[in-house]
Structures are given as structure tokens and as C-alpha cells.
Symmetry: C2
Subunit: 180 residues, 2 copies
DNA sequence: ATTTATTTTTACCTTTGCTCAATAATTAAA
DNA sequence: TTTAATTATTGAGCAAAGGTAAAAATAAAT
């Protein structure tokens, strides 16, 4: 059985929404804060992180993307405003570029697209609720275990340093938590 | 100029999606965890909180609703599963009931509905990103200030006790933060 | 392969938000 | 209005997560 995201990817190809591809070296930025976002990135190879700079000028990770993921600065796309996130390649990463303009247009004109789009963003809302519940867990160990259970692949793909940041703790705390 | 939510409310009336109304006394539950959710609550009067029970059996607030808001257990509606949230009246609260079944049906069949629905849930995603950034702010004072700036009405409507919980801190810490 | 840089682990110390407790202030109930 | 119950404030002590620093382990670069 095909997932909504798989169906959506098939539609992206059929309707020629893929307008190019790009390769980023490790640490290169797909998008920087302040940039206007023209593309969704469909990751063919590599991995990416999304982070923002907080009030103390520190980087704060909010999302990771791996092979097969559609990755972008969502708020920027939805609100038509400059990105508040940085998207950065964690290793050499190849992406296919989906035109935001064409995507928005076809979501408005094509019934099939709009319905599947609804399913996809509704699912995104659900994932964000889970993320909120994770972040509201005070005990670092429980926070770690919750995320490990739901996203085990995260811990395969991403370095502990970045996971610790994502989990709102220091690398030292994560290291201790994993031992105990 | 009419907001998407206002337009949506107008459509709810025109298409007779309001199938009843209910009044809840202070502390009564609109929905309990485990319940199947049949309705969206359009709040006419009063205020409501959404919370879940965490691993330590404590209540954890995740959302508040006031007059005019559409309020429900979103994940339950989107995933067709029992609610993981409790929705509880914080004072005597009157709501109009929107049929989830009818809403889902009309979103699939009516172009106008589906397009405005897309706008509404895309906006919801953006709000959740902001919430995530709030929760990732480590310093309680900054966390308080961020939310106060973006949702000043929250501090009018809701008691400090519940706000503190929502902000991931104790009432004592919130009290001290407000003084300083 | 060797060097350089980065990440992870460990120990010790510091800070800060939480618990507990007592009081004051508000709100609800009789 | 008076009483009861809940909520908000303040202080003191403590536990736990974070900071610092140094060593060990990986990974990257030459």
C-alpha cells in the first residue's frame, strides 16, 4: 500500500514539478535565515538539518532530513516570508528541487493534489504535536527515550552532538543518559 | 478584510455543519483521553485548556482556547484515533458543535472548503513551529517573554498556574520571573 | 599513513530551577 | 457576609542538569 507521501512524490514527477537538482557539500547551506524560499528539497542522498539562531546567538536544531524526505523551511513557504531557519547539509547531499510556485499553483487548481496535500500537512501537524510532547518532557532521560522509540533512524544518521541539541540538552548530558 | 478563519466560520454556518451546542461547567471535560472525537468545539463563551498526562502522571498543558476559537483534539481528528488529550473547561463554557464527519466529507467534495482548509492548517503548522521555538528556549524568563509578546491575551484569560505549566516551569518560577 | 580536527566521554564544580513550607491574596461556596 | 478552598508569593535548602576542562575516540584532511 502506497503512503500519501509516496503518492505525492509520484505526482510531483508526473506533473513536472521538479525543476532541477543540486548537490551541497558538507556544511553548505541549502537555505539561510533571511532567504526567500523558492524550492522544496527532495533529498536523494545525504542528510540535512534545520536550525535557528536563538536569543543567545546559539544554533538550535529543530528538524533533520534524510534520503527520501521532502525538506524545506515550512513557515517561509506557507507565510511567504523570509526563512527564519537555516538548512544545512550534514554531509555531501544531493537534492531534487520542487518549485514552490508551481506546487502552490497546482494545489489550487488540481483536486487530486489538494486532497493529498491536505493529508500530508495534517500528518505534519500530528508529528509536531508529538514533538511538542517530547519537548515538554522535563527529564532528559525520558526525553531521549521518547524520541529514540519513535525515531530510531535518527540515531543512526545524525551525530550525537546534533541530536543532543535537538533534544534540548548538552552533548555531555546525552552521553550520560545513554550510559545509564 | 476577512481572515481565513472568519471565512471558514461563515462557511460552517452556511453549510449547516453546526449540529448542536453544549454548555460545560468549570472543570468539566469536553473530551477525555481515550475518547473518540466527533466534534470541533466553536467556543461562544468561556475558556478551555488541552492537556495530556505525562510519564510521571502529571498534567501538562499544551493549548488554550477562548471565545471565537475552534478547539478540538487535532491529532485524534486527523488520525481517526482516540484522543491523547483532555479538553477541560476552565470556567463555564458554551460551545457550538461542528460535526467532524460532515466537515471531513465537505472538505473532500467542496473546492472552496478544501482550499480554505489548506490555509487554516498551514497556518496551524506555522503556529506550532513558533511554539516549538518557544519550548526550545532554555531560559525561563526568555520563554515567558517570547510567549507574552506573541500571545498577550493568554495572560488576561488564563491563570498563572496554568500558564506556568504551559511554559514548562513551576508557578513559583513564573512568579519570580514576572517580578524581575 | 600521518597529522589535524572534531566528536565523545569522564570527572569535578557551579548554577539554577524545583521542592518544601509558610504566608498572603483571591476566588468560590455556604 | 463569612467561611472554605484555591491560587499566588516569598524564602531556604537541595538535586540535577549544565559548564569547564582534559582525555579518549573518531573522522577528516594532507
Amino acid at each position: 500500500m502506497m503512503s500519501d507521501v509516496d503518492t505525492f512524490k509520484k505526482l510531483l514527477i508526473e506533473h513536472q514539478l521538479i525543476v532541477g537538482e543540486r548537490t551541497f557539500l558538507k556544511d553548505e547551506f541549502l537555505i539561510k535565515a533571511g532567504d526567500v524560499v523558492y524550492f522544496l528539497n527532495w533529498i536523494e542522498k545525504g542528510s540535512v538539518r534545520a536550525f535557528f539562531i536563538n536569543e543567545k546567538e546559539e544554533e538550535q536544531n529543530v528538524r533533520f532530513g534524510y534520503i527520501g524526505d521532502l525538506f524545506t523551511s515550512v513557515k517561509s513557504v506557507f507565510l511567504n516570508q523570509p526563512s527564519d531557519l537555516y538548512l544545512q547539509a550534514l554531509k555531501k547531499t544531493k537534492v531534487h528541487l520542487i518549485s514552490v510556485e508551481k506546487l502552490k499553483s497546482i494545489i489550487q487548481s488540481n483536486e487530486v493534489f489538494s486532497q493529498i496535500w491536505i493529508n500530508i500537512i495534517q500528518y505534519l501537524v500530528c508529528q509536531q504535536m508529538d514533538r511538542e510532547m517530547d519537548l515538554l518532557t522535563n527529564d532528559p532521560k525520558l526525553r531521549y527515550e521518547r524520541v529514540l522509540e519513535r525515531s530510531p533512524q535518527l540515531f543512526q544518521e545524525i551525530s550525537s552532538k546534533h541530536i543532543a541539541n535537538y533534544l534540548r540538552m548538552t552533548p555531555e548530558t546525552l552521553s550520560r543518559v545513554r550510559k545509564s
